[in-house]
Subunit: 92 residues, 10 copies
C-alpha cells in the first residue's frame, strides 16, 4: 500500500555537532537500505527546504510507523502522512 | 524537472450535470495522454478526498503552467505546486 | 487496518429539500450495513456539530476510498483521514 | 460519557534522559490501569507521529481533567478534547 | 456540567426575508425558555459580531447536542464547544 | 463592563522549580482577592488544558490591562480578550 | 474608551446593483456623522483592500456594538475588535 | 517606492460569460499601459495558479490603492500588499 | 505617509534581567522622541497583551524600516506593517 | 527560470555573537556575487521585518536548492519558494 509522507527536519541549535552528523550518516544508510528493499519507493528533496516528499510501499500502518519512528532523525522531524489510493485515470 | 502538484477538486453545486461529467471524461483523456508522453509521471488519489497528488516531469514552469491551466477541471481546482530537487540519499 | 475519519457535513442551502432528506435516509442505511459488516467499527456524533468521528476497519486505502466516496452525503462533506497503528500501551 | 482526546507528545530536547524514560514507563502503567478500569476505552497510535487518539468514558469534565493532567507526560503534551454524543445511525 | 459554547451566525444572503426573521423570533423564545430552566446559564453578545458566547449547564454531551441542533438558527451557525471543569482558584 | 478572557499557561521547562510554584500560590491569592472584589466574575478550567476561561467585570480597558499584566503568571501566558455586550435574548 | 476595529467589506455578487450603491451612500453619511460626534476618531483605508482600520472612542462595549451593527454595510463585513489601553510610552 | 503585490483571481461561477472575458481584455490593456508608464515594474504568473506577483513603483499608498481598486478584475481578487525597502546587500 | 504597525513583544526567558530592563528604558526614550518629531503619531497598548498598535507618519518604506529595526526591542518583536491610504468617508 | 523566494531570518538568541556577525558578512558577499552572476536578479527588504523577497534566475530546482542551502544564514531561515511563469499581460 502506498503512503505519501512529507518530512520536515528541524535540526538542533548545535546542528554542526558530531552527534547530529552521525545521525545523518545513519539516516542515509537506512534510507538507501529501505529503497533497495522496495519499501521507500520515492525520495525527493523539496527545493529550498530541509524537507523531503517520499512515497512508501509497505504492508500496513504499523509497518509505516515502525519505519518512520526508527529513523535516526525522527526526533527532529515533523511528519505528515497521507494514504494514497488508485486514481481512476492513472495508467500505472 | 520534477514538480509535486496537489489538486483538490471542488465540484460545482450541480455536480451531476451533463457538463461536469463531460469535463471529467475529457480530463481523463488528457491525463492519460500526458502520462503516455512521460510528462505526468505519477497520479495518485488521496484516500477519502476528491483530490490527487501528482508528479510532473516537464521542461520548466511555463510548460507546467500551460498543462495545469488547460486541464478541463482547472476552474474547479485549488492547486499546490512544489518544486522537487534531487535528494542526496535517493538511489534513483 | 484501522482508519480514524472525521466527516463534517455542509448541507446545501435548501437543506430541507426532499432530495437531501432522501440522501440522509440512504446514508443511514449504508452506515448501518457497514457497521453490521464490521467495517465501520465506531460512529460517534461530535457534540454541537453536524459532524462525526468514525473508526473504520478495512483492508486498505482503496477500500476506504470506495466506501467514503460512495456515501450519499460525500459531495456535502469535508473529510479528514488518519491512519491508526497499534499503541504500545494499548491492552487491546 | 465519551470524550475523544488527541494527545501529541513533544519530548524535551534531551529525550533520552533517564527522567523522561522513567516518565514513559509510569505513563504506560497508568494508561493500562485506566484501560482495565474501563475509563480509557480506546488508545490508538497515529501512524508516523508521537501522538495518540483516545476515547475516554468518564463521569464528567472534572474527572477527565484530573486523569489527563495527572498523566506523567502531561507537561510535554498538547491535547485536544472533543465531547462525543450518540450518533443517530450508530448501532451501538 | 458546564459547557462553553461560541456561536457565530452566518445569515443567508436574503437575511431580511420573512423566513429568517421568523427563525430569529423563535430562537429568542427558546433561548429564554432554556435560561428559565437553568440550562442556558449565560448568554453574552460578542461586541461587533453576530455571535455569542454562552455557558450551558446540562446533564451530558447528548443533552447539549439536542439543545444546540434544535435551535432554529443552527443551520446558519458555526459552533465551538469547550468542556469546562472546576478551576482550583475559583471561589464558586 | 464585561470582558471574556482566555488564558493559556505555558510553564517554563523547569516547571517544578520553587520559583514557579511560588508564582502559582501568589496567582491563586490574587485571583481569589479579585473574585471577592467582584472584578473576576467567573473562572473556569478548560478540561484537559492548563488554561482557563474567565469573565471580568471592570471599569475599562485600562483596568483590565493592569489586572492581567500584574498577574504573576502573565509572562507565561498567551491571552485572548473579547469584549462582551448585552445579548438581546439574555434574561440577565 | 478606545477600540481598534478592522472592517473588511465583502460586497454581494451584484455589487453594482442600485441597492448596494444606496447602502454605501448611507454608510458614508453615518460614518461622517459619527466622526463629527467624536465617536469615530480615525478612519483609514487599508491600501489595496476594500477594508478599513478605525479607532472608536465610545462609552462601552454596548455602544460600540450598536454603532457597528447598525452600519448599513454590517451584513457584508467581517469585523475584528481590539480594546486599546493607555501605552506607558505614549505622550498623548 | 516599491510595493510587492500578490493578486489571486477568483473568477465568477460563469467564468466564460461575455462580461468576464471583456473585463480580462480591459485588465490586460490597463496592465500594459501601467507597465509602459513605469508604475507596474514586474508582472509574473504564479505557476499553476490564476494569480500573479507584481512589483509596483508608485509615489505612495494612495496611488497604489487607486491603481489596484480601479483594475477591472479588482472585485474578483484577493490582494496582499507588502512594502519593500532597500536591502543592504542589494547591488541595485 | 501613514503606516499601521502592530508590534508584539516576546521577552527573553530571563525577562527581569538588567539587560532587558535597560532596553525597555531606551525603547521608551526613542518612542517619545519619535512622537515629538511627529513620526510616531499614535501608540496604543493592546489590552491584555505585551503588544501595541501604532500609526507612523514617515516619508517612505525605508524610513519606516530604519525606525523599526533600530528600536532596542526589535530583536524581541514580531511586527505587522499595513500601508494606510485616505478613506473616502474620512473627514480628516 | 524564475523563482520567487521569501526568506525570513530568525537570528539565534545571542544574535550579537561574533559568529552570527561573521555569517552575515559572508552572506552579503555571496549574495552580491550571485547578483553579479545574474542568478540573484532582485533582492528587496520587507519593511519592518528581518526578511527579504528575492527573484532568482537559475537553470533548475537543483541549482536553486544548492544556492539556498549553501547560504550561511540558511540554518536560521524559513524559506518559501514559488515558481514563476510568463504572465500573458507582461511586456517583458
Amino acid at each position: 500500500m502506498l503512503y505519501h509522507v512529507r518530512m520536515d527536519v528541524h535540526p538542533p541549535v548545535d546542528h554542526r555537532s558530531v552527534d547530529f552528523e552521525q545521525l545523518k550518516v545513519e539516516e542515509k544508510r537506512i534510507a538507501q537500505e529501505l529503497q533497495r528493499d522496495g519499501k521507500w519507493l520515492h525520495l525527493w528533496r523539496i527545493a529550498g527546504h530541509y524537507a523531503n516528499v517520499s512515497i512508501f510501499d509497505v504492508a500496513d500502518h504499523d509497518e509505516l510507523h515502525r519505519i518512520l519512528t526508527s529513523l535516526p532523525l525522527f526526533p527532529f522531524m515533523s511528519i505528515d502522512v497521507t494514504p494514497l489510493a488508485q486514481h481512476p485515470s492513472s495508467l500505472r
